[in-house]
Amino acid sequence: MSAAKIPLLRVEHLTMRFGGLVAVNDVSFDAWPGEITAIIGPNGAGKTTVFNCIAGFYRPSVGRLTLTNGEQQFLLERMYGNDIAGKARVARTFQNIRLFPKMTVLENLIVAQHNKLMRASGYTLLGLFGWKGYRKAEAEAVDRARYWLDRTNLLSVADEQAGSLPYGGQRRLEIARAMCTEPVLLCLDEPAAGLNPRESAELNGLLRFIRDHHNCGVLLIEHDMSVVMQISDHIIVLDYGKKIADGSPEEIRNDPAVIRAYLGEPETSEAGAA
């Protein structure tokens, strides 16, 4: 494994309490650049909570989240959500899709490049007078959007309202929008939920493409085992807020603790035999 490298994201002793409920309890793991790391676990295992801590929507009760991007290091647990996305370049999608439904598909992707375009428009002032530099930046933004529309098979619907897309299209658009922020870490919250087998296979292709061609680490929550096992380089299993396993797909498949968590306690006590 890439032990010599520095992990892209290092999660140490992450704990999140809501009142008396401990949703995530002392979870530590690493995610590596250029790898797809999957977090799996039964419902209520705390997967989305881990995500929300990484993306800054929750402030963790305990723990340290370090993101390393080349020379730069960010301590995510101390940053606001929008800075995590804007400065540390962590992008995410949502379990229940959150697009800008009344804006067009293309506009969704342009909004994703907000911070860059803001700078280019001289914080609005220069842009207001049609400054040339801004027009160039906008054309570049459109190009990037077009590139990702092409990758996600959405070119033909670029000028439609995002809310009018079919479900699978909305899922893909959300990923395209996240990629338009040029992230170093892409967090996907159940991207395959509600997709049919064909769409799911396409998604696998897309995620592999992102990993291989954009040097972007992918962190993935997924229930669909066909997706997880096929594309993940590294799997973390959570159960009741605790990490119970961590390893390659092959190792996870044969891990007795994982089998127990998914299939329940076997009647015989010697569960490890499987």
């Binding site: 929008n82 996305a85 293309l106 342009i110 609005t124 190009d143 590139y147 000028d159």
Partner: protein, 434 residues
């Protein structure tokens, strides 16, 4: 619905109306000096009941007829989009055809034969509301922030100019940017603590802020002269040439400059053009800023704040700019109002004004610039036209607001034009890896 059913329904409605009318219409209170006297006037109840009965009957009949018409099988080969109703179609074309037509009409208006003093005056009032509507549209229509105290910024603008002119002798043109700036500052001061609140809380805080400003204006008599208001605000000049019949020494009056006969209508027409230009600047600004990142971020925030955060957009700052810019245009409009009236008092800035401006934005169809013009014209002209029935005009005004909303909940000309289209964007190198 059968006729008997309709009859029964209408009868029920009439009964309700009669009961409702019993206390408030059926009895008339009279002052007798001592205890309150009372006089019955039951015939009013009968009027109310009968009119509701007939109205309800007609409405039901109309609904049935309408349903019948809608339900008729459509001719084959009819393409569905063509069946959009007429207003929606107008809405989608508004930016292209309606707006230029409206602007052309507005520019030509003072030269029309029927344009006498009253008409131009009225048109000026309409334009003030158009400008306020466009200003508020930035806050409500684009950024989706419900502001119920917009009139506060209008008041700040008006008082800024009035006080500057009174105490420091500022002219309209010097004070205008300051008034806008000052209103925007107020917007930021107010917005900073409260913009983190969710929609409806924001509404009540802005509403409260509007009231606070009014109360302060009313009570801070040393500066604002309280309910007496400020009189003698300097009228605007034509870039230094005053509109007076007999200018002071060393000054040239407007009519002398152009060798015209002095006429008081010159100033009215001039004021009309000033507000027209101000309003058009507001419009131009809005159209432009929609296509800039900040404008798109406003709309994105309206749609989904959490998604915006995940894309690295700072929601508080973005909302604050919308709030401040909306306030600035309110301030401009306010200082124009002050210079036009020559007199302002806190009475002009009551909550009802905020409500009317908000109604203009919503009735027009959120975000539709042309819709706002129509709604502003409608809501300002309706009370004017109904002036003869002065007693009933506000009644009709309220009823009209309710009815339009029920008829078209999305507003008159609801339509959102995308800020850019892929099909019209030049394709560069051909989609290589960015």
């Amino acid at each position: 619905m059968t006729f008997a059913q309709r009859l029964r329904d209408a009868g029920l409605a009439a009964l309700v109306a009669a009961v409702l009318a019993l206390p408030l219409l059926g009895f008339e209170t009279i002052d007798t000096g001592g205890p309150l006297g009372i006089r019955a006037r039951f015939h009013w109840i009968a009027y109310a009941a009968v009119s509701v009965f007939i109205g309800r009957l007609a409405l039901l009949a109309f609904f049935d007829w309408w349903r019948l018409r809608q339900g008729r099988p459509e001719p084959l080969q009819s393409n569905a989009p063509a069946r959009k109703d007429i207003l929606t179609r107008i809405g989608s074309q508004a930016d292209k055809y309606l707006m230029p037509a409206l602007i052309a009409f507005a520019i030509a208006l003072p030269m029309m034969p029927f344009a006498d003093r009253t008409v131009v005056d009225l048109a000026t009032v309409v334009l003030i509301y158009v400008m306020l509507g466009w200003g508020l549209n930035i806050v409500v229509g684009l950024a989706g922030l419900l502001d119920l105290g917009y009139v506060a910024f209008y008041a700040v603008g008006a008082y800024t100019y009035a006080l500057l002119s009174l105490n420091f002798g500022f002219g309209f043109w010097e004070a205008l940017p300051l008034a806008g700036l000052f209103a925007a500052t107020f917007g930021i001061i107010l917005g900073f603590p409260v913009l983190r609140l969710r929609g409806d809380y924001l509404a009540i805080v802005t509403l409260g802020f509007g009231e606070i400003i009014r109360v302060v204006l009313l009570n801070w008599t040393d500066v604002t002269r309280g309910s007496n208001g400020i009189t003698g605000i300097q009228r605007p000049s034509f870039f230094g040439f005053p509109f007076t019949s007999s200018p002071e020494d060393g000054q040239t009056a407007f009519h002398e400059l152009f060798g015209l006969e002095y006429s008081s209508i010159h100033r009215i027409i001039f004021l009309y053009y000033v507000i027209l230009v101000l309003a058009l600047i507001t419009n131009l600004f809005t159209m432009r800023i929609r296509k800039l990142p900040i404008g798109r971020a406003w709309e994105a925030l309206r749609e989904d704040e959490i998604a915006c955060k995940a894309l690295g957009i700072n929601p508080t700052n973005t909302k604050l700019t919308a709030f401040a810019i909306g306030a600035m245009f309110g301030g401009f409009a306010g200082s124009f109002f002050a210079t036009r009236q020559g007199f302002i008092s806190p009475e002009s800035f009551s909550f009802i004004e905020s409500a009317v401006i908000l109604a203009i934005v919503v009735l027009g169809g959120m975000g539709s610039q042309a819709g706002i013009v129509l709604a502003a014209a409608f809501l300002t002209l309706l009370p004017e036209l109904a002036r003869e029935f002065s007693l009933f005009r506000m009644l009709a005004f309220g009823a009209a607001m309710v009815l339009i909303m029920i008829w078209r909940p999305q507003g008159l000309l609801a339509h959102r034009e995308p800020t850019l289209r892929l099909s019209t964007q030049p394709s560069s190198s051909g989609g290589g890896k960015p």
